[in-house]
């Protein structure tokens, strides 16, 4: 290594630990003097470059980061909420559009099967109470036909109607008052668990659903004389 190369390298990197630099410095007094001056000057440069830093800098950076993170969390939560809303909306829309429209016969049994819990109700609703609730739907029971275990308004296929569960001889019997769902004549239907009969009424139709034919027939007979429909 010659002197020019030594000085170039030293000025380029005064802190260099190169063995070649060290060797040249030992054997060349002029370059050794050069190195002393450069390294002394390097100390000065470092001192000069070492400015006082605003005390608030680090706290401000950390504060900014926390605020940015809060914004990020807010948006992340917001995006999740938005995504959930979209999924829910799409799901409900698809449900509305894709749910097959059941025929009346299938719908009455499906209604009972979807609300099985009402078959086990034991509300023991009085005749007066039943009539008070059914008045709105243009139906009245002139006499008690059986214990009423459940009586409540309920959405039907075409309009809001009324859902009753009577205590039959051997099991619960459901009666669905279905306004605006008109039929021309008596219909019957069944599935492995339930049998049903659907009767035309003045303002729509009525379904009787029971677990066996005996209860079904008995309830149909009793209701035929006890139920009055107002148009």
């Amino acid at each position: 290594m010659n002197c020019l190369e030594f000085r170039r390298q030293l000025l380029g990197e005064p802190a260099s630990k190169s063995s070649e630099l060290a060797a040249h410095r030992l054997q060349c007094p002029a370059c050794s003097q050069f190195a002393n001056k450069v390294q002394a000057f390097e100390v000065c440069i470092k001192e000069a470059a070492h400015l006082q830093v605003p005390e608030s800098l680090a706290p401000r950076i950390l504060l900014q980061q926390r605020m940015a993170q809060r914004r990020q969390s807010f948006w992340r939560r917001g995006m999740w909420a938005m995504a959930a809303t979209i999924v829910l909306t799409v799901g409900l829309t698809l449900r509305v559009f894709l749910t097959p429209v059941l025929g009346l016969e299938a719908s009455v049994i499906a209604h009972v099967e979807n609300e099985l819990k009402h078959l086990h109700a034991h509300d023991n609703v009085s005749l007066a109470e039943v009539n008070q609730q059914m008045q709105k739907y243009g139906v009245q029971l002139t006499q008690a036909v059986a214990t009423v275990n459940f009586a409540n308004p309920c959405p039907m296929r075409k309009a809001r109607g009324f859902h009753l569960v009577f205590q039959g001889e051997s099991g619960p019997v459901t009666v669905l008052i279905m306004p605006k769902d008109y039929i021309d004549s008596r219909l019957t239907t069944a599935d492995p668990h339930f049998q049903a009969v659907i009767l035309p009424t003045k303002n729509g139709s009525m379904a009787i659903v029971a677990e066996n034919a005996t209860d079904l027939a008995q309830m149909e007979t009793r209701l035929a004389s006890a139920l009055q429909f107002q148009s």
Partner: protein, 182 residues
């Protein structure tokens, strides 16, 4: 999940805070000398740390955090000024290097403020790699990697930076304007 209860998030916070405490001062000094503007330097450093926070997952080796931050800041400053500076400088000559033997800087005689004024006058293309050495503690190899250029080119720049500083400080710019022998 609440960020505070997330162990990964807690680790990220701890890493970030440690990085801020360890390196924000040197990054500020580096930015200040290149922008000559305290408020701008602070903004640059803040922006650097915000970028670092967003990309913290990409920092695989925490030991490389300082180098990573300097790289981000350097780009931030370049972006601010709208361009990268790639001015090439040539090697010093014997005559220019001999200047160091003529002067007697004597650290005690050098007023810090005078040197700071001199630093403010050195063009940034020379000053920038010098600051990475002096403040960042990086070698020419490492700075070359950061710039995407050869260590030799960096060595030339920092060599020239020291020459200029020395001469600006001594009020003798004529030496630095000498033409290079090829």
């Amino acid at each position: 999940m609440n960020d505070r209860s997330n162990p990964n998030m807690n680790n990220a916070h701890a890493t970030f805070e440690a990085m801020v405490n360890a390196y924000s001062a040197d990054l500020y000094r580096y930015a200040y000398w290149l922008t000559k503007n305290s408020a701008l330097a602070e903004d640059m450093v803040q922006e650097t740390f915000m970028r670092a926070w967003k990309a913290l997952n990409s920092l695989l080796d925490h030991k490389a955090a300082k180098y990573w931050l300097f790289t981000i800041l350097r780009r931030e400053i370049a972006r601010h000024y709208g361009k990268e500076r790639h001015d090439m400088v040539s090697y010093e000559t014997d005559a220019e290097l001999d200047y160091w033997l003529e002067v007697d800087p004597g650290p005690t005689q050098v007023e810090k403020w005078a040197l700071q004024r001199a630093m403010a006058e050195v063009p940034s293309e020379y000053l920038e790699p010098l600051l990475l050495q002096v403040i960042g503690g990086y070698s020419c190899d490492e700075i070359g990697e950061m710039y995407g250029t050869s260590p030799g080119a960096i060595m030339t720049r920092v060599c020239r930076a020291r020459q200029k500083l020395r001469k600006v400080l001594d009020g003798d710019e004529s030496h630095s304007n000498k033409k290079v022998k090829t």
